[in-house]
Amino acid sequence: MKIVVPFKSVPDPYAGAGEAAKSVINPFDEIAIEEALRIRERGEASEVVGVTIGPAAIDEQIRSALAMGMNRAFRIDDARALDPYAVARILRVFIEKEAPQIVLMGKQAVDDDSNQVGQMLAGLLGWPQATFVSKIELIENNTRVQCARETDGGLEVITVTVPAVVTTDLRLNEPRYVSLPGLMKARKKPIEVLSCEQLGVSVQPMTKTLSTSRPPKRAGGTRVESVEELMVKLKQEAKVL
């Protein structure tokens, strides 16, 4: 069984304000990589292949992913600002070529927060999807995947037939730490670079970001000294009780 893990390089979400943020693997995708590796370590998959879209600057994140233990990694060379639908369309062509049994990826990228690519990809491929998954189990001789999903109403369990697209949620696992020697070993693993042309796909993003801004900072309020004072303020000042 082959698992393809699409992942994205994003600015470090935990970087302090006012510092040039380092780039890291999108935390949700890291969870997907970790899960794919565990499935392979259990003997249920033979290959974990990574794919990402971006310029050469993101190679460091690809090496991190390889250092975690992926078999192979691809970079689709495209430096444009793409939107989720463009990403999904490019990935669709790649997936059809690689023909994995499972596409496992993070549910959303922490910079864009769209939460769309996995579902769009599934729609384009015509494959079943399991989103926001917190537990994965391969059943019936690896022909179905049983997943617990984190939904607004609580945990929901579904099964999907393989091939399928699965997107991961936070509580699925905790990714392994990669140390410097691991990264150095990963330098020996090749990153295959493909252009959209070579893939045979040509897409234009349909979303254009005109501008970005910081939302107004919510003004801090007052400190109260006691429960009595708080009750007074809530009743009389805020008029919310």
Binding site: P13, P84, Y85, A88, V110, D111, D113, S114, N115, Q116, V117, G118, Q119, M120, A122, G123, W127, P128, Q129, A130, T131, F132, S134, E150, T151, D152, G153, G154, L155, E156, V157, I158, T159, V160, L170, R171, P205, M206, T207, K208, T209, L210, T212, R214, P215, R218, G220, G221, T222, R223, V224, S226, V227, E228, L230, M231, L234, A238, V240, L241
Partner: protein, 320 residues
């Protein structure tokens, strides 16, 4: 024929009220809009939706749609769009809409925007505002193409008035037998609660890790919520520690809420949590660390031991 189709979310044949807020976005967009519901045994709920000023309430009612399986729902919704000739599909942000609508977008060859906060029309062009980077940035975005899919953040739009003249109910014709079969529903955690829904409640009381365990959590956070008739929320840390179930989680990767009153107990205010509460009208923070970041965002802050303060607060509220 409507230009816009609004997907209304149901939960056991009841309307999920936040999903109605997408109607307000439809009204802002202008033009005719129809409401769409999917499921099984929907006569009553369809009748409850006829006064929202829609051109029609479209009903896809079949046993094959008893559970919201994305492959089936997306196929049916795409079919409804085609039959209506609609250009825009709207929903309200929820795990339901996030699961299904992107798939529909792909079937319609359309781009999609999640968590739309506002729209602006100028010179015939429409731009949308949405949050990125855990809400620390706002992006103004334009879409291209014939069709588009949008989810609206319910807290950014008002609840629509239901005072229009009643509209017709249409049964959607579709090939139920030809629906995809690759997904199978197994089970859902059914938790029955007297408390209001977290995303709909007027008051939300949330707890963090310092609550120690689920017993304390329920007694203090749950107790205060019940005294105020509110809903219960939790931070990621509290859910991870097993103090609260995952659907209580409020934050960037949990639920976004904007109640009248949000009380944060033992919550330090990590940015990922703040992303889920910043539009609340009044925020009260109770924490023993005077330097906790949440105090920068709280309307009222009380520094002290929550194990002493919360019982006092509950007592005070009960006495009225």
């Amino acid at each position: 024929m409507a230009e816009t189709l609004v997907l209304i979310e149901l939960d056991r044949q009841q309307v999920k009220r936040p999903s109605l807020h997408a109607i307000t976005l439809a009204r802002q967009l202008g033009g005719a809009y129809a409401l769409l519901i999917l499921g099984h045994g929907l006569d009553e709920v369809a009748a409850s939706l006829i006064s929202y000023g829609a051109s029609a309430v479209i009903v896809a009612d079949d046993s094959a749609l008893a559970e919201p399986l994305a492959d089936r729902y997306a196929a049916v919704i795409a079919e409804a769009i085609r039959q209506q000739g609609a250009k825009t599909l709207l929903g309200s942000s929820s795990t339901f809409s996030k699961d299904i609508l992107p798939r529909v977008a792909a079937l319609l060859d359309a781009p999609m925007l999640t968590d739309v906060l506002a729209l602006e029309k100028s010179d015939g062009a429409t731009t949308y505002r949405r949050p990125t980077n855990a809400g620390s940035m706002l992006a103004t975005v334009q879409l291209e193409g014939d069709r588009r899919v949008l989810t609206a953040r319910a807290t950014a739009f008002e609840a629509p008035a239901a005072d229009a003249a009643p509209c017709a109910i249409q049964q959607l014709k579709f090939d139920a037998g030809g629906l995809p079969n690759g997904m199978q529903f197994i089970s859902r955690e059914e938790r029955v609660s007297d408390r209001p829904d977290l995303t709909e409640a007027r008051v939300v009381v949330s707890g963090g890790r310092p609550l120690k365990d689920s017993e304390h959590f329920e007694r203090l956070v749950g107790g205060l919520a019940d005294a105020l008739g509110g809903a219960v929320g939790a931070t990621r840390a509290a859910v991870d520690a097993g103090m609260a179930p995952n659907d209580y989680q409020v934050g960037q990767t949990g639920k976004v809420v904007a109640p009248e009153l949000y009380i944060a107990i033992g919550i330090s205010g990590a940015i990922q949590h703040l992303a889920g509460i910043k539009d609340s009208r009044i925020i009260v923070a109770i924490n023993k660390d005077p330097d906790a970041p949440i105090f920068e965002m709280a309307t009222y802050g009380l520094v002290g031991d929550l194990h002493q303060i919360v019982p006092q607060l509950i007592e005070s509220i009960r006495k009225g």
